[in-house]
């Protein structure tokens, strides 16, 4: 039993019982971040804020949403959009933030790839981050089911059909996932459960892991320099703030973060109020009809690159390629055989690899949206093959990389 003395203040009382001063130092004022960073380092906080917006807007949607095939559509488009005060606001925030969060996730991911922030002790940061990407993808998919519009239904139909695994014809598995022969009440209710409870819990847990994985290796910096954090912290605390290579998380790093967040929020809310149909797809404003597939069917933009890798091939090959695409990013720390943890600009062939990958994924994204006809399907096929080739080539490119 620890020794407790009479408290001299509220702060002292809490300190004796919860060590709040120590916690504050460890988590905030003496959590050291490199000074040599740019605004891309703020994407983590931008994601946290966006996730927070999704949670809060989701709470108010949850008050009125009805997870029943007969009433779901109207509970969203009539009750929430017309009857609930500011219901339209929560719906717009939720839909737009769900789309924009993936833009920020991709920026955050590619920042990590560019600066080598997945190497030399930071592999768990990368892996926990990729697990978050997968969980966010599942969360987005399950959420998209809920309005029970035409896209909800047909996305549900198509994505669950993937699990029949082509010629393996695992129809029983597909029916088990759906809880029925086709997406119906059972399907809607269980994806509601996933979206509202299970996946958010998993996300929160993974965010905890992601933050934890940052502590020992510390946040990376623009030059990939290995910093002696203890020495630099000492320099800072002794008064040489200008000379030190590190800054406090709170308030140094946070004040810069919040500035970026401020600008981000202007961008986000401009979209929420004035430019939202990229996120609130018109086709999903038709109620679900199991007897009519829309003329144009496509997933949300952030799934398009992945969708396009599946599309150009015969079903079995396509499924293998698709599976490959989902997993391959996770393996990046182990496929990159070079010891250099520096920005891509200093890594010769890897730099080319990086930009080709980025452009290839944009091409895949575009082709995934376009009708799979003529020149579009040809370009899509080439882009899909290039994607696979890039990842196969990575170990070879990096093995022979000159040590920096």
């Amino acid at each position: 039993m620890a020794h407790f003395t009479k408290a001299t203040s509220v702060k002292d009382w809490l300190n004796q019982r919860l060590a709040i001063e120590k916690v504050e130092k460890v988590m905030a004022s003496e959590y050291w971040i490199p000074k040599n960073i740019n605004f891309l380092w703020a994407m983590g906080m931008v994601l946290a804020i966006t996730f927070g917006l999704l949670l809060v807007s989701g709470i108010f949607l949850l008050m009125y949403y009805q997870p029943h095939v007969d009433t779901a559509f109207d509970s969203v488009n009539f009750t929430i959009m017309r009857e609930v005060e500011f219901g339209w606001l929560w719906r717009h925030i939720h839909g737009v933030a769900a789309s924009v969060v993936f833009l920020v996730i991709y920026i955050h991911m590619f920042t990590g790839i560019y600066y080598g922030s997945y190497k030399k002790g930071r592999e768990m940061i990368w892996i926990s981050g990729m697990l978050l990407f997968v969980t966010f993808s599942a969360e987005a998919f399950s959420g998209y089911m809920l309005p029970w519009g035409q896209m909800s239904y047909w996305a549900g139909m198509v994505i669950t059909n993937i699990f029949s695994l082509g010629d393996l014809h695992l129809d029983g598995l597909v029916e088990w996932i759906r809880g029925d022969y086709v997406p119906g009440q059972a399907f809607l209710n269980r994806f509601f459960m996933l979206h509202v409870l299970l996946l958010p819990l998993a996300i929160v847990g993974l965010i905890g892991l992601h933050f934890a994985s940052l502590r020992i290796p510390h946040v990376n910096n623009q030059d990939g320099e290995e910093i002696d954090f203890d020495a630099e912290a000492k320099k800072y605390l002794s008064g040489d703030k200008k000379g030190s290579k590190v800054i406090r998380f709170a308030n140094d790093f946070m004040s810069k973060d919040l500035m970026v967040v401020g600008i981000f929020l202007i961008f986000l809310f401009y979209l929420v109020f004035f430019h939202y149909s990229f996120a609130l797809d018109p086709i999903n404003f038709d109620p679900a009809d199991g007897l009519k597939t829309p003329d144009h069917i496509y997933p949300e933009w952030y799934f398009l690159w992945s969708y396009e890798i599946l599309r150009p091939f015969p079903v079995n090959i396509g499924l293998v390629a698709f599976g490959f695409a989902q997993v391959i990013f996770m393996l990046l720390p182990f496929l990159d055989r070079s010891p250099n943890a520096v920005p891509a600009s200093r890594r010769g062939l890897f730099n080319i690899w990086f930009w080709v990958l980025l452009i290839d994924m944009i091409i895949l994204t575009a082709m995934g949206k376009l009708p799979p006809e003529g020149i579009f399907s040809t370009i899509g096929l080439i882009a899909a093959l290039l994607f696979i080739a890039l990842w196969v080539a990575l170990p070879f490119i990096t093995k022979n990389e000159k040590k920096v």
């Binding site: 040599n36 200008k242 810069k256 018109p282 575009a366």
Partner: protein, 315 residues
């Protein structure tokens, strides 16, 4: 150390905008070909050559024209003779009341409609006299005089009793031009009209059965039930709605939906009513949006000033 942030920002914005452009404007342009609007000129219909006389028109409408045999004209004291469900059973759809037809529909269109309904409505692919399939509306073959003069008179009469263009509300335009085929759940409208409220559940259910019976007749007549339009303002662009109303064949070749022949003004009001149904809070969204964005600009400025202060002794 050179500040690379402007370049980095430019690169991020560039790739984001390129992706956006490809996925949204470009792709949607590839998926939906643009149709040019005629602005409801109805160029395929002959221009009106005669000036109509409303009082002669009234005689014709009540008499030789035989319009009131099927059409009620509440404003002229001619109530409906048939229950809407029975009318739908007989004609496929309930013939519209003509009180405001003169304001909702284009004059050229009305003149042609009276003489040759299937042609004016652009449903000749379905109602072909040569094949023996007649449109439920009987054409007017003339009352012995100049048929163009007679139709011009009847149109003039309808225009004389109709509400003025300025007084035509979005709801009136919709109910008249679209409401007998398209329900609008979110505005409490079915093909039978505004939903009455009932005290007894029994009466409520009985009314719902009537609506379903009407819809059955309508679906049999049209081939399938015309869709409820409550969310159409969000699921279709204004451009699409305008060119669709102007001529359904523009977007749905071979459709059974007639060209309804509304005036440009009435079409605008119909679309406004659809907006009221499917995007009710649009005005509030815009006004709240301006205020929120204003606040966020201030927020960003204060965040910037705080950052500047904190970083003064860090650089």
């Amino acid at each position: 150390m050179k500040n690379k942030e402007p370049l980095i920002l430019a690169v991020v914005i560039f790739f984001s905008l390129v992706t956006y452009w490809l996925v949204e404007p470009y792709a949607h342009g590839q998926m939906h070909k643009h149709v040019e609007s005629q602005n409801f000129a109805y160029a395929d219909l002959p221009a009106l050559t005669k000036t109509g006389d409303a009082s002669r028109g009234q005689e014709l409408v009540m008499g030789a024209g035989a319009c009131v045999g099927c059409h009620s004209i509440e404003k002229a004291g001619f109530a409906s003779t048939m229950d809407p469900v029975d009318a739908a059973s007989a004609y496929g759809v309930n013939p519209p009341d003509l009180s405001d037809a003169g304001a909702v529909y284009d004059a050229k269109f009305l003149a042609e409609l009276i003489k040759n309904p299937a042609h004016a409505l652009k449903v000749e692919h379905k109602f072909d006299p040569a094949a023996g399939v007649m449109h439920p509306m009987v054409p007017f073959y003339g009352a012995g005089g100049d048929i163009d003069q007679e139709t011009a008179d009847m149109v003039a009469y309808l225009q004389s009793i109709a509400v003025s263009q300025a007084d035509l509300t979005p709801k009136m335009a919709y109910d008249n031009a679209c409401g007998r085929c398209h329900a609008l759940k979110y505005e409490n409208w079915t093909q039978l009209g505004d939903n009455p409220s009932f005290k007894e559940k029994k009466d409520d259910l009985a009314y719902q059965v009537k609506v379903l019976e009407y819809q059955d007749h309508l679906a049999a007549y049209m081939g399938k039930l015309p869709p409820d339009l409550s969310s159409y303002y969000r699921s279709r662009s204004v451009d699409f709605l305008k060119t669709f109303i102007e001529n359904p064949q523009n977007h749905l070749e071979g459709t059974a939906m007639p060209r309804v022949g509304v005036t440009a003004v009435a079409a605008e009001k119909v679309i406004e009513h659809l907006a009221d149904a499917g995007d009710t809070k649009r005005h509030e969204r815009e006004s709240v949006g301006i205020k929120v964005l204003g606040f966020l600009v201030i927020f960003a400025i204060f965040a910037f000033l705080w950052k500047k202060q904190v970083w003064r002794d860090l650089h």
